[in-house]
Every structure is written in C-alpha cells, then in structure tokens.
C-alpha cells in the first residue's frame, strides 16, 4: 500500500469538511473492496476518510411503503434485519449472499453502490427495486445513479447517506457466483411493484448493471419463468474473461432470469 493520511470524523458534517480540504481523498466505509485495492496499489489516495463507524449512517427503518437503509449499514445487518426480511426478503437474501460471513461483517451497502463494481450485487437490487439514493447533496434515482464500470453519478465531495427501497410485491435475486471470488458471473434481480416490472443484470455488462427491457415487457404480459425462457440476450457489450465468454454470460442471463422469476413466485 502507498502511504496515506487517515482520519475518522465523528459526524457526516466533519467528513464533508475533511473531504473538501484533502488533496485526493477517498471515503472508507467497510473497506472490503478498497483495502484489497490499496494493497494491490491500484489506487493512491492522499487521505482515507473513515465513515464506517458513523452511527448516523448505520440504521434500518421501515416507514410507509419503504425500507430506509443507512449507507454505513453492514451486509450482515441488512441480511438479519427483521424489517428487511419482512418487507423485502429478496433484498435480505441478496445481502446474505455477498462475499462470505467475514466480509459481510465489514462491508457496507453505501460502499458497495458508491464503488459500483460491475459484478457486485447491490446495484442490481437498487436498479430492480427502483431505489432512491439520498446523498449529502440530493436525491438520485437508481436509474440515474449507476453510470458505468466503477462510475456513478456521485460528484466530488458527495456522500451517500441512505438508500430507500420501496416494498416490492414480488422479487427475487439469483446469482451464479464465481467460485473463487464469489462475485457474480451473472446475477439477475427481478421485481414487480408500484414501479411496474424490472429485470436488472449484474456481473455481465461491460458498463456495469443494466436492465433488460425485453424481459420486462415479456413478464408484464405473463409473470412466469416461461415468459423469459426463449429470450436470447445478445453477447455484444458483455464481459468476457478467463471465467467465461460473453456468449456464456449471455446464456446465463436467461437461465438466471428464469430461476429468479420462479423463486419470486
């Protein structure tokens, strides 16, 4: 790791002030992606501003027709939350499937979406569940938030505070994990709710998470695994690496979508 300055602000306001002052800062929450990235010297921030312990960002509340989750809430907390399990069991199950138990004890939802790894799980949930991302500056719709591989709509100095998930009527996430990294080779989140029907795919796209309109239209006509079974996803624009070709991932999207619709019931 390169050298950096470390600060642990006591409030969000102090974190914002530190961010504004530092030369090339990075926010640290759970660090389950950032620390390994630093160890490989793939990033060289001047300052790490640790917001992982901020109590004001660590909460889960069910209010009205939505669950609000603070940005520094850990995956294990989301997975075990009675509110999330009751109103959004697919989201709880997704959190329970991230990484491994030790990673889930540190990793946070805000860190996951702000990093927007093209193979991480939460971006698919946000996109499929029409989530609202509240930051220190504004509210960003999930559709507007994820901008490409490791890119989001967040500006310099902007901090994710809370993610609001409206309750779905039906939802499920199916992931085909890479057996070594446990990141999604392909993960498909399907949902039905006040927003209509959404199908979001992670792990496959070169530009990160994306929606599949053709599947959404087919499921609107008939909510059944068969409705998506014959939809072929073009391999163009999909990831190809030593773990699988773009064609393999394209095929997996349909398979995972079918399984997700079946699981959602």
């Amino acid at each position: 790791m390169y050298q950096f300055n470390y600060a642990r602000p006591k409030s969000l306001a102090e974190a914002e002030a530190l961010l504004a002052k530092a030369d090339d800062p990075k926010l640290l929450a759970g660090g389950q992606t950032l620390i390994p990235t630093l160890k490989q010297r793939l990033a060289m921030p001047s300052d790490l501003i640790d917001i992982g312990g901020l109590k004001e960002l660590d909460f889960i509340r069910a209010e009205g027709n939505a669950v609000m989750i603070g940005a520094a809430t850990k995956h294990a907390t989301v997975a075990q939350s009675p509110d999330v399990k009751k109103h959004n069991p697919a989201l709880a199950a997704l959190a329970e499937g991230i990484g491994d138990p030790a990673v889930r004890h540190m990793g946070t939802i805000g860190g996951s979406i702000a990093n927007n790894d093209p193979a991480s799980d939460y971006p698919a949930a946000c996109l499929a569940l029409d989530a609202k991302i509240h930051t220190t500056k504004r509210l960003i719709e999930a559709d507007e938030f994820f901008k490409g591989m490791f890119e989001t709509a967040l500006e310099d100095g902007e901090i994710v505070k809370e993610i609001t998930f409206p309750h779905p009527e039906k939802a499920a996430y199916m992931k085909f994990p890479n057996p070594a990294s446990r990141y999604a080779m392909v993960g498909v989140f399907v949902s039905k709710g006040p927003w209509g029907i959404r199908v979001a795919v992670t792990g496959a796209g070169q530009d990160g998470v994306f929606r599949v309109k053709e599947m959404e239209d087919a499921l609107a006509k008939s909510w059944s695994p068969d409705a998506v079974a014959s939809i072929k996803i073009p391999a163009k624009g999909l990831n190809a690496d030593l773990h699988g070709t773009a064609e393999y991932r394209a095929h997996l999207i349909t398979v995972m979508a079918k399984r997700a619709v079946a699981a959602a019931g």
Partner: protein, 154 residues
C-alpha cells in the same frame, strides 16, 4: 505516525503504526501474536480471521487504525485457564486439521458461527465456511468438528 490502541485478548495494546498497517500485521508484528496467519493476502482464504467487537473479520482486509478502540480476540485468546475452547477441543478430537495453517481462521470463524447460529446442520456449516480455504483435508473433519463443538456448547 498515528498511535493505535485497542484491547486484544482482554489486555490493552497500543503502538505507533503507519496508517497503512493492516490489523493482521499489527497483531503479528507489533504484538507478536503469530497464531493469526496470512494465507492469501487477497481476503479469500480466511486464515487471518479474528473477532472485532465479537464478529469474525478478515484481519488482512482491515487497517489497524480502523480497529482503534475495538475489542479484538485472536486464536490465542480462546483458551481459558489452560483449558482449550470447546471448538479447539473438537478440532483436536475430530482431527479437523492436517498442516494447521488454515486452522486459526477456521476456529475463529467457527466460534463466530456457533454464536450466530447455535443450531447448526452440515449444509449450513459448509455454506458458512465459504470464506475459509483449507488445502489439505477436504473439509470433512473440519465440518465434523464444528458440528460436534456446536453440540457440546448447547
């Protein structure tokens, strides 16, 4: 350099460390507690698992400064008054190790697992060991040991 202070195995521990010092290096090199191992250094193998405020965490994927003020337990902190912890005892009885390199992490993960899920079955144990890699035993005896320990601790 920042001074970092925490409780390790019930005793206060502090040192001047660089901000980039990993918790595992603080534990091994500054405190001399070498029971916690570095296996892969890419947060996949779990040989470095310790408990931070009661939860299993990979100490190679967290900075020492992040653990400032925390209560840390390493594998050296499990035995009490010369008596092995029931999980250590079960690993010994069921031959839950071969070379022993992954064992500290396996044991710390298992203690955390039994705390979270006292009624374990084999499938759950295997799923929960997702983040701990053993290259010798094929896991069978590790799973047996964890199931036996969870029985013994009921």
């Amino acid at each position: 350099m920042p001074v970092v202070a925490m409780t390790v195995n019930g005793k206060p521990a502090s040192a001047d460390v660089e901000a980039r010092t990993l918790l595992v290096h603080f534990i091994r090199e500054h405190l001399g507690l070498t029971g916690t191992h570095v296996g892969c250094d890419t947060s996949q193998c779990g040989a470095c698992v310790v408990h931070v405020d009661g939860r299993a965490v990979k100490s190679c994927a967290i900075l020492a400064v992040q653990a400032e003020g925390a209560d840390i337990v390493t594998v050296e902190g499990l035995a009490k008054n010369g008596e092995l912890h029931p999980v250590q005892q079960a690993f010994r009885e069921h031959h839950g190790l071969q070379c022993g390199f992954c064992t500290p992490g396996m044991i710390m993960t298992a203690v955390d697992l039994i705390r979270r899920k006292p009624n374990l079955d084999e499938k759950t144990v295997r799923e929960e060991l997702e983040g701990n890699i053993c290259r010798c035993t094929g896991y069978h005896n590790i799973v047996k040991a964890i199931l036996a320990a969870s029985q013994a601790m009921r």
